[in-house]
């Protein structure tokens, strides 16, 4: 199990305080290439905030984030994205009045560093549009490409969120409850995609997910956050057997609680 390879991503004593409230509390964790780590914990445990600290949406109060051994704690979100940390948001976070295709095309354009081209026509950069369509096809959204993003049903907006993340082609991909609020028949599309990414040995995937069956089938490893602190870390079978997890998490949520989602 132990890999000699250095981790792709690592947090050391990563901490953020909001006033007196410590939302993420000295979390130290390393993530290997080619693995999928599930992050679980009750609502308000600090999972989304931990993601925000890694991808640079929030500045850390203490501790560090390193990517390929290089410290990136002081970098802003755009620089971290450029270096290979991509993320999809828990609350759908799109360009609401732009088309579905344009939402993805903008991600492709960023990856191709084409944003400072002032004098050519964006519509003539066919290669960018074709690449955008490729990600739309992978997420089953190609037939909605010309729709305005805000007009998509919720499930399709979640898919678009994933399409945008894929289009960034980052080494690290973070999914924050990607299937929340999706209808039962839409969930497999997203799970297949994540499975597919996981199969790509060059990627490092972090997944926040409440559905335990999903976690069990996808994760190589589970870490548990509770009140901002990392309280358990190990392979799924091991972690799921822990009392702290059963009490805090599985006790209420495993039975029928998530089935309505």
């Amino acid at each position: 199990m132990t890999t000699p390879e250095p981790p792709v991503l690592e947090t050391r004593d990563l901490t953020i305080r909001f006033g007196g409230h410590v939302a993420v509390d000295h979390v130290s964790c390393a993530f290997q290439r080619g693995t999928l780590t599930a992050i679980v914990g009750p609502n308000g445990a600090g999972k989304t905030t931990y993601f925000n600290l890694i991808s640079g949406q929030l500045p850390a109060s203490a501790g560090s984030v390193t990517l390929y051994g290089e410290e990136i704690t002081r970098l802003g979100a755009p620089q971290r994205t450029k270096r290979g940390i991509g993320r999809a948001f828990q609350l759908t976070n799109l360009f609401p009045n732009l088309s579905v295709r344009e939402n993805v095309r903008l991600a492709v354009q960023s990856r191709q560093n084409a944003g400072f081209d002032l004098f050519s026509m964006a519509a003539r950069h066919e290669e960018l549009i074709e690449m955008a369509d490729h990600y739309l096809a992978r997420t089953d959204l190609l037939d909605r490409a010309d729709a305005v993003a805000a007009e998509l049903p919720h499930g399709d907006q979640r898919k678009l969120e994933v399409a945008v993340l894929l289009a960034l082609e980052t080494d690290v991909l973070m999914f924050d409850e990607p299937t929340a609020g999706m209808s039962v028949d839409e969930v497999p599309v997203i799970l297949d995609l994540i499975q597919h990414i996981k199969a790509d040995e060059t990627k490092t995937v972090l997944l926040v997910e409440h559905k335990m069956d999903v976690v069990r089938s996808l994760a190589d490893r589970i870490i548990v956050l509770h009140n901002g602190a990392l309280v358990a870390d190990g392979v799924p079978a091991e972690v799921m057997a822990l009392d702290v997890v059963r009490d805090a998490y599985l006790g209420t949520g495993s039975g029928g609680g998530d089935d309505d989602a």
Binding site: P96, Q109, A114, A122
Partner: protein
């Protein structure tokens, strides 16, 4: 061909297409269609304001930046040429130097203001621009040795641009083509070129990023776009375009003063024009400028006539007295915003 010229951004509405063609033809043939000093002056003012308002739309409508310093940049461009022509009357070199200096100062100032204040909240940026623009206005009136103070500068432009110059011996379509008309066409073609250039910029990959930032800056950052940098560049571009509009106005009016370039009154006019026409469309800037300037130049006259015709009636003559034209323009504005919240162009494209 037309698609490339318009950067693929067609009017996308039959009525709007007709309106745009009418504006283009009206302005292109203005010296022949509407002879007379007053009409030509109105046409030239419209050309300049189309550029000025479009450059403001680049900020407000495309990037979501609220700035009150646009007339300052407009003034910098105008004063650049005015000051040089004041020193070297009638010289083309003076114009060249003035354009270069005005552009450099405007863009540099916009970049500095942008870098220091665009990373914080929008309201803070708006306040900074208001403060800088006010300070600049005071500065311009204090440095009277350079700027002519409150009186402004009156200067001589190259002879080709003056009424004394005759392009042809004979009249063309019944109109004597003098330097005034040459000057008009200089303004017209420069404005057309600048408008098409801005249309290209907003449809470029860069322009798409600006719209993304307007829509959701947080998301734009997560995609890897450094919003401060993009906003700052947009601010510099808008300032440069405004300065060029100022250059055209300076060449047309042969006078530059604080009231014609720097005043906050013009700033409010620009805001009204961009909102009436429709933000984030550029075509809206053109439509808004045409309507507003026609109203400004002719509403007063119409109202004067109405006021006289209705003399004797109680109250009504006072309501339509020419001095109330701003009141009526205000009402027109409120109605148009109420009924067309996305502006005239937004409405036509629906």
């Amino acid at each position: 061909m037309i698609g490339t010229l318009l950067s693929g951004d067609l009017p996308r509405s039959k009525v709007l297409s007709v309106v745009m063609v009418a504006i283009l033809l009206g302005l292109a043939l203005a010296p022949f269609l509407f002879p007379g000093t007053r009409a030509l002056n109105t046409a030239a003012t419209i050309c300049v304001f189309i550029v000025l308002v479009a450059s403001y739309d680049l900020l407000l409508g495309y990037t979501g930046i609220v700035s009150f310093a646009h007339t300052m940049f407009y003034g910098i461009g105008a004063y650049g040429v005015a000051i040089m022509l004041d020193r070297m009357p009638g010289s083309w070199a003076a114009i060249g130097l003035g354009v270069a200096a005005g552009l450099a100062v405007a863009v540099a100032l916009a970049l500095v203001i942008g870098l220091f204040s665009l990373r914080v909240q929008a309201i803070f940026f708006a306040m900074v621009t208001l403060a800088v623009a006010s300070a600049f206005m005071i500065l311009a009136s204090q440095l009277s040795g350079l700027t002519g103070g409150e009186d402004g500068l009156t200067y001589r432009v190259p002879r080709v641009l003056t009424p004394a110059f005759k392009l042809f011996q004979d009249k063309l379509f019944g109109v004597r083509v003098d330097g005034r008309i040459v000057d008009y066409y200089l303004v017209f073609f420069a404005a057309l070129a600048l408008f098409l250039l801005m249309l290209r910029i907003v449809n470029s990959p860069f322009g798409r990023v600006l719209q993304a930032i307007r829509e959701n800056p947080f998301r734009a950052e997560a995609l890897g776009y450094r919003t401060v940098v993009y906003r700052t560049v947009a601010n510099g571009l808008g300032a440069g375009m405004a300065a060029l509009a100022g250059v055209l106005m300076a060449l047309w009016q042969k006078y530059t003063g604080p009231d014609t370039t720097l005043s906050l009154g013009i700033m409010i006019d620009i805001l009204l024009m961009v909102v009436i026409g429709g933000m984030g469309t550029l075509y809206g800037a053109a439509v808004g400028a045409v309507i507003f300037i026609l109203a400004k130049n002719y509403l007063q006259g119409l109202m004067g006539a109405a006021s006289e015709a209705l003399a004797g009636l109680p109250l009504i003559p006072h309501l339509v007295h020419p001095d109330r034209w701003l009141l009526w323009l205000g009402i027109l504005f409120i109605l148009s915003v109420y009924f067309f919240p996305t502006g005239i162009v937004g409405r036509l494209r629906k």
